[in-house]
């Protein structure tokens, strides 16, 4: 502390970050929790709609988490541990959902498997309808298995092939090898991945709002309270209920599994090559990955088809007329890109600075800062959004309908992305570098600017990219904050889809995806290709 007082600039930076996180993370969440009265909370079990939504949420979290984790594990195992043909292609396809708006998969599956679906109706002639819990289950599995796959890929890769060779050397092979060596070593990673997926499923708003129909879950029910009845209290109650399991899962993931998982991953480079995968494993895995990859590609295919066809389900003649709707919504597209660009810039710089302070400086409340900086990862977007609308749509912080409120919510919702990347990278940078700079006369912030920041460049860029994608594609956070003045593309898409303008919705989604890809390509050109994406 004494040391800190000698560097006023450093002290000011720390204080500013504390104030910013307190105001823009803690305060909105507290607003949500404290908005309803105790009676509102007590009335919860008697409200049939609330109880149903809670049960639905529980069921779908269990279902989707299980399938996403299993699919993710099979993919991760294929990438990391087998010689299945085309595995790099499968990997590239598998990460596509991470770059797409969360509602896009559900929306596209309606186009393909819905009542007027391309496959279900046009090809097979049935009137099968995917809307409902099974559609939600499928969409969430496809949307979130890539997260599980990336986490478990890292874990499986960290298991040195020499261990498997050693087991083979001792006479174990096939199923026995997998069961006694590979699986136990991967178990903490599997648990961590499952918890992470569960957090995403629990918080998911985009998929259920599109495809769940009458199968309400907590985030959609909260949205319905406000958009349908103007019942802010009810939405706050539901958000609070949602926050409890989200927070529990988050704590478990971070402090129970997360820690052990970190110990498993040591940086030892394994030079041994993988033994060839036996045919009875290779071809089933190949078939499985092909089917899942096809399901992912169908999403984009359906979207493109939807954007260029006259009337979905009955008239498939190509047309450009949906693109007139896109032109009519240029403003929301521009908003999306500008807001997300500004937010991602601020968010990545702020989070990297926070990660530097936490890992390099001693100050009271350091663990608090560490905790609050990753806390937004635990807060479902819906809760975050309602919190912002409760906290900043009224004096003294009346930001109603402004770009500021949207940008602020995007900045702070994405803080954990850059923060965690920064912390991870700083672990690899020797603290002696900063000490050497200090020894040569550089103060703390100069050291950060001259030494750590350049070395963190790749983390900064990946933090920017991830924040940008999340900000451009988010629906849950902004759905409570947009007005006519600050509308963004995802909200327009939601409205178009809900109002039955599916072609326009598909075209606008395509445009949003294309524009974000262009932004990403430019940032990649500017900052080099050496960017790690989605280090989860």
């Amino acid at each position: 502390m004494k040391k800190l007082l000698r560097e006023p600039l450093l002290l000011a930076a720390i204080a500013a970050i504390f104030i910013a996180l307190g105001l823009f993370v803690i305060y909105p969440v507290l607003r949500v929790l404290l908005y309803p009265s105790l009676r509102d909370f007590l009335g919860l079990p008697t409200n049939e709609r609330y109880v149903t939504a809670t049960l639905h949420t529980f069921v779908i979290v269990v279902l989707s988490t299980t399938t996403a984790t299993v699919v993710g594990f099979l993919f991760a195992y294929t990438f990391a541990r087998t010689t299945v043909p085309c595995k790099t292609l499968f990997r590239s396809i598998a990460i596509l959902p991470l770059f797409s708006p969360p509602f896009m998969i559900a929306f596209s599956y309606i186009l393909i498997f819905g009542r007027n679906g391309l496959v279900t109706y046009t090809l097979l002639g049935t009137r099968y309808n995917i809307i409902g819990w099974h559609g939600l289950w499928l969409s969430q599995t496809i949307a979130f298995f890539p997260i599980a796959a990336l986490v478990m890929e890292g874990v499986l890769q960290s298991i040195a092939p020499s261990l498997e060779y050693a087991a083979r050397n001792l006479g174990a092979s096939g199923w026995r090898l997998f069961r006694t060596v590979t699986l136990p070593l991967a178990r903490p990673g599997v648990a961590g991945a499952a918890l992470l997926v569960a957090i995403y499923v629990l918080a998911d708003f985009g998929n259920p709002v599109m495809i769940a129909g009458h199968y309400t879950v907590l985030p959609t029910e909260a949205w319905a309270r406000i958009s349908g009845w103007g019942d802010v209290t009810g939405a706050a109650v539901l958000s609070s209920v949602l926050l409890v399991p989200a927070f529990g899962l988050f704590l478990a993931q971070r402090y129970w599994v997360g820690r052990r998982q970190y110990l498993t991953i040591t940086g030892k480079v394994a030079l041994l090559t993988l033994p060839p995968t036996p045919w009875y494993l290779k071809w089933p895995l190949f078939a499985f990955c092909t089917v899942v990859s096809a399901l992912i590609l169908l999403v984009y295919l359906g979207l493109l088809a939807g954007a260029f066809c006259r009337g979905w389900g009955f008239d498939y003649t190509p047309t450009l007329r949906h693109w007139q709707d896109v032109l009519a919504n240029t403003r929301s597209l521009i908003h999306s890109l500008v807001f997300a660009g500004v937010a991602a810039t601020v968010s990545s710089l702020l989070s990297i600075l926070a990660s530097y302070l936490v890992s390099r400086k001693a100050f009271p409340g350091r663990w608090v800062l560490d905790f609050v900086a990753i806390l937004p990862a635990a807060i479902p977007g819906v809760v975050f959004g309602i919190g912002y609308s409760l906290a900043f749509n009224v004096p003294p912080f009346d930001l109603y309908g402004t770009a500021t409120i949207i940008i602020l919510s995007m900045i702070f919702w994405n803080i954990p992305m850059g923060y965690q990347t920064g912390i991870g990278r700083l672990k690899q940078i020797a603290p002696s570098l900063g000490e050497a700079a200090s020894n040569l006369g550089a103060g703390s912030l100069k050291t950060f600017w001259d030494i750590e920041l350049p070395l963190l460049k790749s983390s900064l860029v990946s933090a920017f990219v991830v924040s940008f994608i999340r900000a451009v594609t988010t629906l849950s956070v902004i759905v409570f904050l947009v007005t006519n003045r600050n509308v963004v593309a995802t909200f327009t898409i939601l409205n178009l889809a809900n109002d039955g303008y599916r072609g326009a919705a598909a075209a606008l989604t395509t445009a949003l995806l294309a524009l974000s890809c262009i932004v990403l390509a430019i940032s990649r050109l500017l900052f080099g290709r050496n960017v790690e994406l989605f280090r989860i």
């Binding site: 560097e7 000490e435 200090s438 020894n439 040569l440 006369g441 103060g443 030494i451 070395l455």
Partner: protein
């Protein structure tokens, strides 16, 4: 050297990390222009002292003075005590030139003056022409010299070195060690050096502070540390020691006899008076013991018969482990004996006689 004024004074310094006391109430005075080594096993607190001098750690108790100035409240970037890190801490995103120029630029030096100064230091350290490389493109020895150049270019009054040679291979370490000492003498900079390598400490230092469990257990010249260690720990840590523990039987001024497992050992030590009945620990270095295969001629003072148990041949000498039987019921005592230049005599086996020169035995006072 002892006439030089005190440059760095550590007064009753204590530093704790949580419940662990890394440095306990240490006082140490380092004279201007001297090369002082903090020597000790890992965890003894030597690096903690160095980092407290550099300002990376704050003293929990006690004071640090550079000359007359109390440094406790001076932040690390204002201390002008240049440090060379164990891992060199070269900035990987800067060239060699930029690394060396970094501190000067912060000091406000620019343009031609900056370039000249950096080039000169690089030239002095044999790094001319490497200025455009990045640290990853040069060898370990060169990296080490860049780290040194980066510190020396600041023309600091104090140079702090944290095991700077530990990442070099054995041969290079000896060369760089000699170079380092030469530069230090030429520049006349007060240097504090941290190492766990006792041989390095003996070779390079004006004075050595041997540390153990957060305390300085002996502070003296390399000669004093090696030949007159004050404790079993110092004798054992610096060099190899044969300890002889026993009770004094006879004593006259500067001479006494010690009973050691039923045998009598005579010691001649000027300035040490012991009394009969007193317990004492003696130390004799392996190279000070003479070995013969035949019973040596008179006078047979301190001659012990033993059996060679095993040996290792390391080139310039052979080290023997010789079992000397003591009382019948006790286990034999194992002496370590070094025989230099073994070529003529070959490897000794079986029964041998050890002769301990009464004047080469050291009495450990603080034992």
């Amino acid at each position: 050297m002892t006439d030089a004024p005190v440059h760095i004074a550590i007064r009753r310094l204590t530093k704790r990390f949580g419940s662990v006391t890394a440095v306990r109430d240490i006082s140490l005075e380092i004279t201007r222009g001297s090369f002082t080594t903090l020597l000790g096993p890992s965890g003894c607190g030597k690096t903690t002292i160095l980092r407290t001098l550099a300002g990376f750690y704050e003293a929990d108790e006690g004071d640090i003075f550079f000359g007359e100035r109390r440094m406790n409240d001076v932040p690390s970037h204002r201390r002008h005590a240049a440090m060379v890190f164990q891992d060199y801490a070269l900035f990987p995103h800067m060239t060699v030139f930029e690394n060396v120029a970094y501190g000067l630029k912060i000091g406000g030096l620019r343009g031609e003056a900056l370039r000249r100064k950096v080039e000169r230091v690089l030239g002095d350290l044999g790094l001319a022409g490497l200025g455009d490389r990045t640290p990853g493109m040069i060898s370990g020895g060169q990296q080490q010299r860049v780290a040194l150049a980066r510190a020396l270019v600041m023309e600091p009054e104090i140079l702090l070195l944290d095991e700077p040679l530990s990442n070099l291979d054995a041969k290079l370490r000896v060369t760089v060690r000699a170079e380092l000492r030469q530069i230090q003498r030429r520049v006349g900079i007060t240097t504090v050096y941290v190492t766990h390598d006792q041989e390095e400490a003996l070779a390079i230092s004006d004075r050595i502070a041997v540390m153990h469990q957060g305390e300085v257990v002996q502070y003296g010249t390399p000669w004093e540390i090696y030949y007159t260690p004050e404790s079993v720990f110092v004798a054992d840590f610096v060099g190899t020691a044969n300890f002889i523990r026993g009770r004094v039987r006879e004593a006259s001024p500067h001479r006494f006899t010690l009973e050691f497992g039923g045998r009598m050992i005579t010691v001649e030590l000027p300035g040490r008076d012991l009394h009969p009945g007193e317990e004492a620990v003696l130390n004799i270095r392996p190279e000070a013991i003479q070995v013969t295969t035949n019973l040596p001629d008179e006078p047979r003072v301190n001659v012990l018969e033993g059996v060679v148990r095993t040996h290792t041949f390391v080139g310039q000498w052979v080290r023997y482990w010789v079992d000397v039987p003591l009382r019948p019921e006790a286990a034999p005592y194992e002496f370590i004996v070094d025989v230099p230049d073994p070529r003529e005599r070959g490897i000794l086996e079986g029964r041998v006689f050890l002769r301990l020169d009464p004047r080469k035995i050291h009495h450990l006072q603080g034992a």
